[in-house]
Amino acid sequence: MGRPQKPGADAIGTLDLLILSRLARGPMHGFGIAEYLLGISDALHVEEGSLYPALHRLESQGVIESTWGVSENNRRARFYKLTPRGRKQVTAKISDWQRMVAAINRVIEPLVS
């Protein structure tokens, strides 16, 4: 449908891939996802301005679903988890990503060595 993609979403959807990969390890709320990504690498810092729209978009696409839950500090928080469809998409997206990285590596290898 003609809905414009949010800025920052590239061909593979890096942000989507990161979110889905985190959720593949289990349900988590928005803040947790942001913190997890930051904890892995400073380079993966995700702006709140993109994270929440992305979560809602993925949910509206039926890739993830959400429920109210209780956070580790006993606060009400919205927890996201993958739907069966989302699970399939993670695998597909990961292999897409790997293929692309491999292709790009082949292109830049001669320059690096």
Binding site: G2, E48, P53, S60, N73, R75
Partner: protein, 860 residues
């Protein structure tokens, strides 16, 4: 995939309406995020207040973030549209005066456009409900400056063989007398060749259609097809009518079928109730090869152009043997083949140009209304300058703002379109009735169809964009934050635009008003024409006693004359074939013939110039005498007295016994045609000269007639005045509507001018105060504002004049005894425009002149 799209659409549309729920959820999520961030900062040893501030900073604009998050759920377009509409409605509610003015003027403009369009479409454009209507062509003939749709049997035979056509349908429209259980009424009849239904590709909704087998002189069972509407009206949609007998013009027909609902014959404006085979047309015309009495409709073979058909038919026409008795010389080069996909007919031809003209005039009025609204919006957006600048400064996208401003104008035009639709629904039937008052009974299908809806939608949207785009573009173009913070002024660019819009309105006004004035002038001239007879106090009655023959017809005639003469208030009674201005039935190359009874000239008030009138003896004894009109006397006997001269009338030798004045039979526009009057004694049409109002006697006439012969229905009963009036229906309708449009246009334009001057006076209060403080007197200030109004209207007139002159040339044929360049008319219109604009300018001017310099300067 489809299923996915559907699910997707469902959740999104659900989200559209679950907005509140989603918003609270997003808010809560962000709140949680904020709290967590704050907590993390505090864990790093940052002071609580600072931690909170940092968390807020990191999260950014929470409201905007919520909006973006919610956007993920919806089709962005739909949601912003709804938002814009809400916003627009709020804006309109804030300014109800403006909204009401705008919607009202748009409603009138769009409504009038739609009303005219419906007639226009029904009569001129809508394709016939037949197979491939674009292939249909009509064979016509140019006679003098008029197009004749009638052709001869000879033409039919010759053209049927053409290989450019896949078929030729010959038909004839004629009223038919239907007798059911002793009562008679007239229905509209279409006499159609046996191949017509097959050629048109029209089936029957019940029973069957007419076939070649029906259309044989030897056919022993006459078949009749009912139109769907007539079947419903007269037979209560009873399916058992099939096979039933029906008496048409005194002969028994079998109802063989019912036509499909949309099919009402081939002539828009003159629907057929009953369709019967052409060979059942009970007339000597059927065998006469020379008389023009048939309409010929052909279907082009695929790939053949109209020009090719025309060329082929012209060649074929030259081969038709010319009979010596034909009263018109054959002119194949005058044969013209025209497209007939949307039907043909007299109503179409008569109203084609007038409706086009009205359509053009009302479109101009709508344009004026658009220009007016554009200038109102222009003033309004400069009033909102501050708000818009502020919104741009706060980061609103220009495209988004443009869309929002356009949504507002579209909102107005859609509201106007809806109200206009209601107006059109009421007015079109009124217009149609006005058009039907004349010689032509008009009945067209005005049902709500996609074309009309499309027209309304397109007109509404187009007007909305048209008047909205300029102010909207102006609003978002030049902006600065400084402007947002200070009060805003009408910019010179904006001012120039609004002046241009006023000038355009005045120019269009000029065009519409000049057209209206010329048409009204023509109507007045036509009403002043001396028709050659006295139309007042005459009642005309026409009957069709086909079932009375020979002696019984004569005694019926005598009885009717006797009874009518005995009605109190009747001075003279006479009989005739053609009434003045009722058209001529018989026309030879030299003159037209009217068969009249004794007392005709006296009743009609046609003066006897020489000799004697026709007497009852002349008629009863069928004496070979004739009375001629002055024009025949002039043309046929230029050098001698016509009395006692012999005249060849259709091969019969007649002696001229009298000369009468010229009376017009065809039209008030043309000079009276040469007429020869022959005596006749038989039933048909009657004229009664009455002492008082002839209309008052109509009831008596009907009663007397029913007493004499119950089986003879009244064909028509009306006054001669009404008949004459009926010939001017088109002129009256066009000129009065055009005049109405003109007044409307002028009113809109003067409101626009008033609005603009009021605005500029309000804006220049300070300046005016300074001027007055420096010694300008009230008259000077008054004049300063009025000069503005004068300048604008003079510019408009200067531009409108050549436009008016160009456009009036397009309908010169509608004018009568008025030159399209009539200087007096142009001057009068220009003067009245100046007058009205000065009145519109006077109120703001007076307001300007009464500015108190002290108050004005203090306010500055």
């Amino acid at each position: 995939m489809l299923r996915q799209l559907w699910l997707d659409a469902r959740t999104r549309f659900a989200a559209l309406f679950a907005r509140r729920h989603l918003r609270s959820r997003a808010d809560e999520e962000l709140q949680f995020h904020l709290v967590m961030l704050e907590q993390r900062y505090r864990e790093r040893g940052i002071a609580p207040a600072e931690a909170r501030a940092q968390a807020r900073r990191q999260l950014g604009n929470a409201t905007l973030l919520t909006e973006h998050t919610l956007d993920s759920w919806r089709y962005a377009f739909v949601s912003t549209l709804i938002q814009d509409v809400r916003y627009g409605l709020r804006g309109l509610r804030r300014n109800p005066g403006f909204a009401a003015t705008a919607v009202l003027s748009l409603a009138l403009g769009i409504g009038a456009n739609t009303a005219i369009f419906r007639l226009f479409d029904a009569l001129l454009f809508r394709p016939l409900p037949v197979k491939s209507p674009d292939e249909l062509v009509l064979v016509t003939q140019q006679i003098g400056d008029q197009r004749s749709l009638m052709l001869t049997n000879g033409d039919r035979e010759a053209f049927s063989a053409s290989d450019t056509l896949s078929g030729l349908c010959a038909s004839r429209h004629s009223r038919i007398r239907v007798t059911r259980s002793g009562e008679s009424h007239f229905a509209e009849g279409m006499f159609a060749g046996g191949n017509c239904f097959a050629l048109l590709g029209v089936g029957a909704s019940l029973g069957r259609t007419i076939t070649e087998a029906d259309d044989q002189l030897s056919a022993n069972d006459l078949a009749a097809i009912l139109s769907y509407g007539y079947w419903q009206r007269e037979f209560g949609a009873d399916p058992s009518v099939l096979g039933r007998k029906i008496d048409l013009d005194g002969r028994s027909f079998t109802i063989a079928g019912v036509a499909p609902p949309g099919f009402i014959g081939l002539e828009p404006g003159a629907p057929a109730d009953v369709i019967v085979p052409l060979t059942s047309f009970h007339s000597p015309l059927l065998a006469n090869p020379d008389v023009h009495w048939l309409r010929l409709l052909g279907r082009r073979k695929p790939g053949v152009s109209i020009e090719q058909v025309q060329a082929d038919l012209r060649v074929r026409a030259t081969r038709i043997p010319q009979s010596p008795k034909a009263n018109r010389p054959r002119q194949p080069e005058r044969l013209e083949v025209v497209p007939a996909g949307s039907g043909f007919g007299a109503a179409r031809m008569a109203f084609s140009l007038p409706l086009r003209l009205l359509m053009g005039a009302i479109a101009l009025v709508l344009l004026i209304a658009c220009a007016n609204l554009a200038s109102l919006l222009l003033a309004r957006t400069s009033g909102r300058r501050q708000e818009i600048d502020l919104r741009i400064a706060l980061g609103a996208g220009r495209a988004r703002l443009l869309r929002q401003l356009l949504t507002e104008s579209l909102l107005l035009s859609v509201l106007g379109g809806l109200a206009g639709t209601a107006i059109a629904w009421v007015t079109t039937p009124v217009l149609l009735r006005a058009m039907s008052r004349g010689r032509m009974a008009m009945a067209v299908d005005l049902s709500l169809d996609g074309r009309t809806l499309l027209f309304i939608a397109a007109t509404s949207l187009l007007t909305g964009v048209l008047f909205g785009i300029l102010p909207a573009l102006g609003a978002i173009r030049h902006t600065n934050l400084a402007g947002a913070l200070h009060g805003a002024r009408l910019k010179t660019g904006t001012r120039r635009w609004s002046a241009a819009l006023i000038v355009a309105q005045v120019a269009f006004c000029m065009v519409v008003l000049v057209s209206a004035a010329l048409l009204l002038g023509s109507l007045r001239q036509l009403q002043r024409v001396d028709p050659g007879f006295r139309k007042e106090h005459v009642l005309l009655l026409t009957i069709r006693p086909d079932n009375y023959k020979g002696q019984s017809a004569v005694s019926l005639h005598r009885e009717i004359l006797h009874r009518l003469a005995a009605i109190p208030g009747v001075e003279v009674v006479t009989s005739f074939m053609d009434a003045p201005l009722g058209g001529s039935s018989i026309t030879t190359r030299f003159f037209s013939i009217n068969e009249v009874g004794p007392g005709f000239f006296e009743t009609m008030g046609i003066p006897l110039l020489a000799g004697r009138a026709l007497t009852e003896q002349d008629a009863v004894e069928d004496r070979p005498v004739a009375v001629i009109s002055a024009r025949v006397a002039r043309e046929s006997f230029p050098d001698r007295s016509p009395l006692g001269q012999h005249l060849d009338v259709f091969g019969k030798d007649k002696v001229v016994v009298g000369v009468v004045g010229d009376a017009r039979y065809r039209s008030l526009r043309q000079p009276a045609e040469p007429m020869v009057y022959e005596p006749v004694f038989g039933p048909g049409s009657y004229a009664l000269r009455t002492a008082g109002d002839p209309r008052a006697l109509a009831g008596f006439v009907r009663r007397e007639l029913r007493d004499v012969a119950r089986d003879v229905p009244v064909w028509s009963l009306d006054t001669l005045d009404a008949l004459v009036d009926g010939t001017l229906v088109q002129e009256r309708m066009v000129s009065s509507l055009c005049g109405l449009f003109g007044v409307f246009a002028l009113l809109i334009a003067s409101i626009g001018l008033y609005g603009r001057l009021s605005y500029s006076v309000a804006e220049r209060t300070g300046e005016i105060g300074v001027r007055m403080a420096l010694g300008a007197n009230q008259a000077g200030v008054l004049w300063m504002v009025l000069r503005d109004a004068l300048m604008l209207s003079v510019c408009g007139i200067a531009i409108g004049m050549p436009l008016a002159l160009t456009s009036t040339r397009l309908f010169r044929s509608l004018l009568f005894a008025v030159a399209p360049t009539d200087a007096a008319t142009l001057a009068a219109i220009a003067a009245s425009i100046v007058g009205v604009t000065m009145i519109a300018g006077y109120l703001p001017a007076r307001r300007a002149a009464s500015v108190d310099p002290v108050v004005a300067l203090r306010a500055e």
